[in-house]
Symmetry: C2
Subunit: 756 residues, 2 copies
């Protein structure tokens, strides 16, 4: 009987609800890029370089033009593109020189995929091969082949350097315990269900419409306009349903202006959509890293210092990949309380494929090093690894050395929770061949001001049936972020979730948003939606006050009914109130438009600044079994605890955790793009080993709800975090099982069986 008295504080928030767009996806009604077929559409294909580094002597497109059904063949000579990329170092079509085998040399549009393919094969290119460099450490040395000769060096100065002390060596010299090691992380493909591509249509009025699965439609429009030299007001970006992105969609790539150029030449819609093989070869992979790290502790188990030296291979051009260095820096300085920290990353050009950012954005990489060193240090100090972590855990209301102001922080609770849930009793107690490992994480949880605006706009309008339409700048990548926004609006307005519609299919009618990245959708777009809903509610209560003759402060809206909190008999249905507001002289239809920009700071040139409005924390425990004969690591169980503030939709949050863990396990154990002289040689899902559901162990998600004071209903981000600690936790579990530390990903039997 007592349980019935427990009143749930919210009606919609904190409830597990199906995705609002789940039905149309399950029924095949949702339209992805692949489903779009514009009238009169052409199909494009790109010819790439035969060599990782070469001069282009001559391109002969004569034969290609003669292939039946060809509408356009273009090379760099036929278009006037501006250079693209974060450092504007890449021409969309290469002229004079190619710097990787991914380099685009020519492109074709034809009436069918087959005709385009045949035409691409008919293009003759004469090259003069150049010496190439594939090892970033070699590339950084004087005398190495230069990827961009005009720069005189392969080293890219992104100023990734932070230090709390001028004499870090002195700090380490005085330490009681120090561990030091080197870690190497591989190329990984994000492998979303929806491959890269776009449809571009440039019409006779000089208007370009692009259908794209970008994560950042407003930045995309800006960048694409710049590369094409078009007036941005003539460029429209439409996002169909997006089948995942994981960071890939944060930049534009040569295929975007190339598709547009083919349409500009033909005045017909042109589609370029990668096959899975192309995706594996040409989509930007996760940034690989070589990490040299040392960590020191005091005799009483307190972290004293951490020093990281990272080498990042940008590839031939700079996309977002190397900027993972910023996140690595933040975690180096911010994960656990470390008074003395130094971080430095060297970024170099090579003739490898260039990298993009990917879920976690450098955080899985650096956490792999940090958390293995935590494990080693605990051992050196003779401390239980969980104890040691708890001793040094982040806490609420602290400030990191880079000036990041932590508001809520449930890190200790998360560590304790995973230790309890996995049945931790101490080292080497998991049974024969088995081991348990731990790792925690620190990540932005309230946006990330890496652009001058980190804001999001929302417009809400309420129709005569009480249906509330939210037009948001935010992009749902398929994660369910729209559902969270709908829940926030439904909760604030006291109406059922089924009465909220979310619209976000292009930038035309949407207010600005920086894009979905940095786990920001629920936090930033959620706060924006909440602001708009509050404005609508304010207006509604004013009108209800006139009708019910009750002061607005005494009026409650719940389950679609507006009533006096003091006399619930004074009531009116939500939709009826809306109609009363509208259908009268001087009536009004309720609409509100707002813009929310989080209270954060751009970091200064010393990398100081409160980048995010709040931060997310968590911990994972992993139990593994290692086959002593084969060296094969089997993950038996993952427990993943998250302080993501209040959980808006437990089912969706759990889905994010499961997805993140599975992605992290692939990264840890099986996924690796194997390069040979800069070329991906395992570009098929038969050889590139994505984990399947059969490979995925039981995953237990635990939520430590801290109710953040800045988050919408106390929520923080959770989009990326599931994948961050996994590699470190598995490595620590392997060490617990067999006493060997995997320092390279993916963990291979050879590492386990070899000398440790």
């Amino acid at each position: 009987m007592l349980e019935q008295q427990v009143v749930h504080r919210y009606s919609v928030i904190g409830r597990s609800v199906p995705k609002i767009d789940g039905g149309e996806k399950v029924l095949g009604l949702a339209r992805y890029l692949d489903d779009l077929e514009l009238p009169n559409m052409l199909y494009g294909k790109i010819l790439r370089s035969r060599y990782p580094h070469a001069r282009i002597v001559r391109i002969d497109t004569g034969e290609a033009w003669r292939v039946g059904g060809v509408a356009a063949v273009i090379t760099a000579r036929d278009v006037s593109f501006n250079k693209m990329g974060i450092l504007k170092d890449q021409p969309p079509l290469k002229d004079g020189k190619v710097r990787s085998v991914r380099d685009e040399v020519a492109a074709v549009a034809a009436v069918s995929e087959e005709a385009a393919e045949r035409a691409v094969e008919a293009i003759r290119v004469e090259y003069e091969e150049l010496d190439a460099v594939f090892d970033p450490e070699e590339a950084a040395k004087p005398g190495a082949p230069l990827v961009h000769e005009e720069l005189g060096t392969n080293i890219i100065d992104l100023n990734f350097h932070f230090s709390t002390d001028s004499d870090m060596e002195g700090v380490f010299e005085g330490a009681y315990a120090v561990v030091e090691d080197e870690y190497r992380l591989q190329y990984m493909n994000a492998s979303p269900l929806g491959t890269m591509g776009c449809i571009a249509y440039y019409n006779e009025l000089g208007e370009l419409t692009v259908y794209t699965n970008t994560q950042a439609p407003f930045l995309y429009r800006h960048e694409l306009s710049q590369v094409l030299g078009l007036d941005p007001s003539k460029v429209r970006v439409v996002q169909p349903e997006i089948g995942g992105a994981f960071g890939r969609g944060m930049d534009i790539y040569p295929l975007d202006p190339i598709t547009a150029a083919l349409s500009i030449k033909t005045r017909r819609p042109v589609r370029i959509l990668y096959t899975r093989e192309e995706e594996l070869q040409y989509a930007p992979p996760r940034q690989p890293a070589i990490i040299r790290m040392k960590t020191a502790a005091t005799r009483d188990g307190k972290l004293l210092a951490r020093d990281a030296d990272v080498i990042l291979d940008a590839g031939a051009y700079v996309s977002w990949g190397p900027f993972d260095g910023r996140v690595m820096m933040a975690t180096t300085t911010g994960l656990y309380v470390v008074p003395h920290v130094r971080f430095r990353a060297t970024v170099v050009y090579t003739n490898n494929p260039y990298c993009g950012t990917q879920r976690g954005a450098g955080n899985p990489q650096i956490t792999f090093a940090i958390e293995q060193q935590m494990d080693s240090l605990a051992e050196e100090l003779g401390l239980d690894p969980v104890e040691f972590r708890l001793l040094n855990a982040n806490t609420p209301n602290m400030v990191t050395p880079q000036g990041m102001r932590i508001s809520s922080c449930g890190m200790r609770e998360c560590l304790q929770a995973v230790a309890d849930a996995i049945g931790w009793r101490g080292r080497r107690m998991a049974g024969p061949g088995r081991g348990i490992g731990f790792a925690a994480y620190f990540h932005v949880g309230g946006g990330a001001r890496v652009y001058r605006s980190d804001g999001c706009g929302s417009t809400i309008s309420v129709d005569d049936y009480g249906v509330v339409t939210l037009v948001t700048g935010s992009t749902d990548l398929g994660t369910g972020s729209d559902t969270a926004l709908a829940q926030i609006v439904a909760e604030e307005l006291g109406i059922p979730l089924s009465k909220v519609r979310v619209v976000n299919s292009g930038e035309t009618v949407r207010p600005w948003d920086v894009g979905t990245h940095a786990s920001r959708a629920t936090f930033v777009a959620g706060n924006s939606a909440l602001m708009a809903a509050r404005e609508i509610k304010r207006k509604l209560l004013e009108i209800a006050s006139e009708i019910l003759l009750v002061h607005p402060s005494k009026i409650v809206i719940r389950d679609g009914v507006v009533f006096s909190s003091e006399d619930p008999s004074k009531r009116i249905e939500f939709d009826k109130l809306v109609r009363r507001a509208h259908f009268r002289q001087g009536g009004e239809v309720l609409t509100a438009s707002v813009f929310y920009d989080p209270p954060t700071e751009m970091q200064d040139e010393r990398w100081m600044g409160n980048l995010s409005a709040t931060y997310a924390f968590g911990a994972q425990a992993v139990m593994v079994e290692v086959d002593p004969e084969t060296g094969v690591v089997k993950v038996l169980k993952v427990v993943s605890a998250h302080d993501c503030g209040r959980v808006i939709n437990p089912a969706a949050a759990e889905g994010q955790v499961h997805g993140g863990v599975a992605m992290g396990l692939g990264y840890t154990l099986s996924e690796e793009l194997v390069l040979e002289r800069g070329r991906v040689i395992n570009a098929s899902l038969a050889e590139y080993l994505l984990p399947t559901s059969a490979d995925t162990p039981p995953i237990k998600a635990i939520f430590v709800e801290t109710e953040d004071r800045y988050g919408p209903y106390g929520a923080k981000g959770i989009g990326e975090t599931g994948c961050i600690p996994i590699p470190a936790a598995v490595a620590n579990a392997v060490y617990d099982a067999v006493g060997k530390r995997p320092k390279t990903l993916p963990i291979k039997p050879s590492q386990i069986l070899g000398a440790g």
Copy 2:
């Protein structure tokens, strides 16, 4: 040199600009209903009644189902529709009984138009014919065949009765001069380029999307949901480009729920689109009328009294046609200053096709009577017809007997202007066989509160390039109303027109609007857009004030530059200011959402109330030549003067006048749907005589700009008015030429040659 000093008060308002969507229309890029082809789409056809009045004994659809490619065959038995229409007197598919040859008996969806056609022909229907009634006066008599037996009468009580006096006969008896006559007006097809139709798609989630060329998407959604018994929140209405409507799109028709039902049966998109022949037969025609009127004047040339008795044949069901009676009433009481007025309309059901409203909505019909009587009375009084009109013209700030409050009024100026422009020197001075006639008009010019809300919502957002997007509830029927809205926004924000985009393609993201009718788009949607633009401007000036260090009241925005009115060197470009507002900590993207409902009143049961926020006036002069041998009337010249307040876009306003005059000339001289036992027998453009450009005389448009105090930038409506006075003016010109008064439309040689 002096002329260069004349400063145009506005930058965009009052300038002739091309339609903002003109380019895409000219280039064939605009997509009309006819251009839409949804994947997997079926084509629908409707079987109609063989008889004007009959019982349905049996329907056999067996053969129809056996036609190849047929996906659905439905009759009333297969669906559960609610009744539709203003009086809910019409089942979309007829069961038991048919009441006109337009009645829908069954419908088919098939993979091609041809298969659907064959299947419709294969449906066997057994009828039992009933006595029918086609003459509305006969139908009103006791004992006439009853169209709806259950009502016990064919007379529909719409309460169209207004009188200033209890004893009107007494007023007439005391009059110095009285004229009295009867006028008869025909059926007319609106003949927009785009024929009626819709595409409906009901998906597996129970969501219905309808693509329609309705004029009133929000009312359409409501009505359609009601007829289908669907939750309106599951119904979406999308408007592609609209190729004209002229009132036809103010109601929904059986084809709408029938198309939806075919999609509900098949779960596939279904399109029904009328051929031109179907359009002529089945689209709702202009309301025909029999008008008996008398008008009295005093000895000194003042109007004393007007009395109108009107018979309106609704047809078999009630759509908006008979509600033209309201407009007829307003003009009877409001055109010229008449102290004593009475109006009565009798509305009856017959077995004729039912009528819709059409440009002018009863006003051309009643003005035909009123203005001929003005002409006759002037003659009886021995007064010049222009003089007589000027003596009795409406004036600013008067109130009509129905309580309509006239604000601005340029009627006298219009009358004088057309007399001057046509070269009026007095009766019978136009030359042999020639004549000049005049007529004036009175029409709503600031919306018409015939629905409880006459409002319109607008949302404006400004992007980082200074592009301003207006999302309006308003519907552009092809008239250029969107261009007027864009001009208003551009003017208010001081930016070039090219920087404004207007979005209005469905109700999903649009705020409510009652629909485009009653010449309200520029006035109501214009005021709404203006409100939103002012809110944006207020925010912009605040931010500019911070940057320029100038008080907001001293800041001007013009031609895309924001500057101090006192020191123009303090300046910033509009787009730069927008970016400054956005890209800063705590920045904002400028958005505003507003709802404008005009300050008007619903008329009460006595038909009293200020229906419109302002009223439009004007006058036309027509010169004709009548061939004495053949009786053929040739219009040589039309001068059309309009007080539509400030003219926003002179080229577009002139286009409206030209189009209205041409439409009015067709009504006057050639267009007539000829019915034989309720069936249109001239349903082709070879027999239904639309005027061509070769039939259209030189038309001179004159604008008397009164700058109305309620209108956006002083504008009033002009969409309908060009066609209102034409029939009367031509009739008066014919009388001036040959001394015979045409009392029936269209004017035929037989009327001229016969006894006058």
